[in-house]
Amino acid sequence: MALLRRILSLGRRARVEHEIDAELREHMAMSVDDDMARGMSREQAERDARRRFGNPRAMRERVSEEDAALGLENLWYDVRGALRVFAKSPGFALVVLLTLALGVGANTAIFELLDAVRLRTLPVSRPAELAELRITGGNRGFGITDGLFAAFTVPMWYEVKEHHDPFSGIFAWRTNGVNVGPSNRSHQAYGLEVSGDFFSVLGIAPLQGRLIEPQDVTANCQMTSGVVVSYSFWESEMGGQPITGGSTLVVEGKPVQVFGVTPPSFFGMIVGDRFDLAYPTCAPPHPPAEQFTYSVMGRLKPGWNLKQASDYFGSLSPGLFEKTAPTGYSSQALKTYKAFRLAAYPAGAGVSWLRDQYNSSLDILLGITGLVLLIACANLANLMLARASVKSREVAVRMALGATRGRLMRQTLLESALLAACGATLGAALAQPLSRVLVSSLNTSQGTIHLSIVPDWRVLLFAAAAAAATCIVFGTFPALRSTGAQPLASLKSGERGVVGNREGFSVQRGLVIAQVAVSMVLLVGALLFVRSYRNLMTLNPGIRESGITVAFFGFGSAHVKPENLAEYKRQLVDDVRSIPGVENAAATTNIPLGGSSWGHHVDVGAADGESRFTYASPTFFATLGIPLLEGRKFTESDTNMSPLVLIVNQAFVRRYVSAASPLGVQVHVRPEPQYPERTYEIVGVVPDTKYGDLREPPPTQAFVPAAQLPVTAQAPWTGMLIASGDPAAAQQAVRRRLEESFPGIQMQFFDFQQGILDRLVGDRMMARLSGFFGVLAALLVVVGLHGVLSYFLAQRRGEIGIRMALGATRGRVVAGMLQSACVMLAGGLVAGTALSLIATRGASTLLFGLKPWDPVTLVGAAVLLAVVTVVASLIPSVRAANVNPVDALRAE
């Protein structure tokens, strides 16, 4: 009711005030009439009435204050007033808005990303009940691991599928690239292989048609039984046509039936990834027992928790691993296998390589944006404080003119709240695009990240509330104090020559020192990450990076017998090498710096351990520019018919070879399925080169001639490194030539150097973001310092005028201003160094070739801040020196 009345009375202010005026005027007239009737002179009567009434404006204010109906009207009045104030000092308003927007926006953006990657649960029913089964501590390199989330071999899966008391349902899944479309224009799609109960255990209902069911799992592994497509795939590739019994897709060259469509929210099990089509697992009669393929998850029965489930699967493990042990391994290796224990882990948030890879990065980023918010708030506090102090004179004047205290308070509160609201809104608008930029900055030429970023109102509200509270507290507190003061005293001391309010100024000084300190932390962080990234970029891996094309060739359709595959691959390499524009080429089983690895267990004399093994063409070392230090290179005559030979790197020699010369030393390789027991002889030594990852030191490496790959391990595909002056042209030429000479061959190319850069995308993101926030922090310091010094100057104008009139030189005035800036700077730097040393400890694992307490970085950040500070304080200082003594004194 009251609100309605207020709204109805909007726009009536003038009328109401007029009415109050009229009422009071008539009252005065009646009083005068009476007095005159009692014999007083008109003059005397009027004077008497005025004396009793006091200030008529103040009286009217007090009466209209009671008319609560004016509330909204007053609010609008104050908003307009506030906007006028902002229009008068647009610089101030702009800086406050931007500071707020960046503080709020950046925090929200980072948190949204963190939430999407780490906190949000899968869009399935009751995700908290989901649990993943894994071997505690992983498979320790045993056998072959197909992917990041592959924890189960097929026989292991068959076992738990039959014995899973803690789970009401259990399923297995893996991701796999799938060729979709007619053979001449087929493309890779994201495939999701799922066991029959996958969708029913997750509780996902089909959007159209039906999903995969247990009867779809057959012994046939040709992927012919049918597929389920994702919503986005259905929309983009199938035009969103209704699914009928006749809906088909060409998958791996064969038409298959499309059963149905999953709901739009379901993106698969991997956060940051998506799937295009899901197809059922198959049940081959003799699944490989050493190949870890599946991720296995289940839904906990009511009454079971993770601990109990882990106990159950732990006690199940001995029998399970005894039963599923693969053959062809040494007894030591099998002992490792049989000691594996399964345990249940929470899986309600799915799995994610993003989460694993960027876990600490995200924490650090959240910390960084938190600090930015802190600086932003300090900045706001400073700006608001400076303004409120300047306004204290205005407040005194308005109080003297009859404004009530509440009214003035409301106005300052409103100004602050208005700024806070606008800034926060801007920040909210900024958060979404920022988050998207962040996600896309993690994309690489090889893969894109698919994350749904949803606005997080809790964080937005938190950041906005923090900023708004800062605005309001620091904007209103001084106003409160000045309204409490006697107007006369305020007016008198308003702009006196000497600094009046020491207390208020020390708060500001403290804020600037805090700002400098926190900025120093951010700058140190920025410099550390940028330098770490630079270290990685300029690192010499010991192999040629530029002008190398990585190619994968598949020739399963040529049906070459395993014993002839070595010769087939040699011809392929020769053919590629003969193409004009190709400098050199080599086949290899492992692409360096690609993240994958292959190794065997070796015995060298008494020493034994793991070593990386690469089966490579004789041209491998020349292609990658690796020099030979000792011994001989491989030749074409090193085949399975000739003695088995090995080229090793220096790390291998240091670790395993005790003899004076490594040449001629025998290396015994322990057996594994498809890789029989063998004894090699070292014939050459190469320098250490980076293997899987730039960050890791070179491991022990051994190279075997490609033609000596065991026939049992031969597969109809090969990786190839092609060196050329113009990779793009060479790639075209290779493609054309091979389409002619090897019809039906499958080809895939990517640039070697780009691939290496792609693996540094996380470092690049940290360098860019921390750099951005470091610069931002420095800018905020400039703004803050400039504001304080300008305020300082405004307060001391008169004093400076007097000093100059008494003969102080301009130099002395500038020096005085700079000195106070330098004191604040010094305090900030000392505090900042201490804070940096504490704060950067958490970043040590992310840094490459640097210690977090790197002295160069600390000094660099300090110098940078010092320069920035001096530049920021020069302008107000010079302005102080330009104070005209006559003007300054006259203004008193």
């Binding site: 009415e19 109050i20 009229a22 009422e23 009071l24 008539e26 009252h27 007239a29 009646m30 009083s31 009439d33 009476d34 009793r52 009434f53 006091g54 009286m59 007090r62 009466v63 209209s64 204050e65 009671e66 008319d67 609560a68 109906a69």
Partner: protein, 108 residues
Amino acid sequence: MAKNDLQGALDLLILKTLSQLGSMHGYGILMHIRRVSDEILIVEEGSLYPALHRMQQHGWVRSNWAVTDYGRQAKWYALTRAGREQLASREKNWAQVVKGVDAILRFA
């Protein structure tokens, strides 16, 4: 315990005056209180008008413009139903307050 204590006295005076006079303007209320109390209670304009406007916001009094006996325009106030109820409860309260104050004064 009597609510609204001594500070409610002004409201009570105004409400009672209006109930006695039916309808009256601000100046008239002022003069009435002064005359009836034999110049003991003098209400100031600075208190009267904010109180009148506050009571109007509460809906205890309503107002309209009319001409006085002497030909002046004035805003006349009159009690509403809610105002009469308010007056009744305040009178009761006041009796309590007086009793309480009296007891304290007589305590020896």
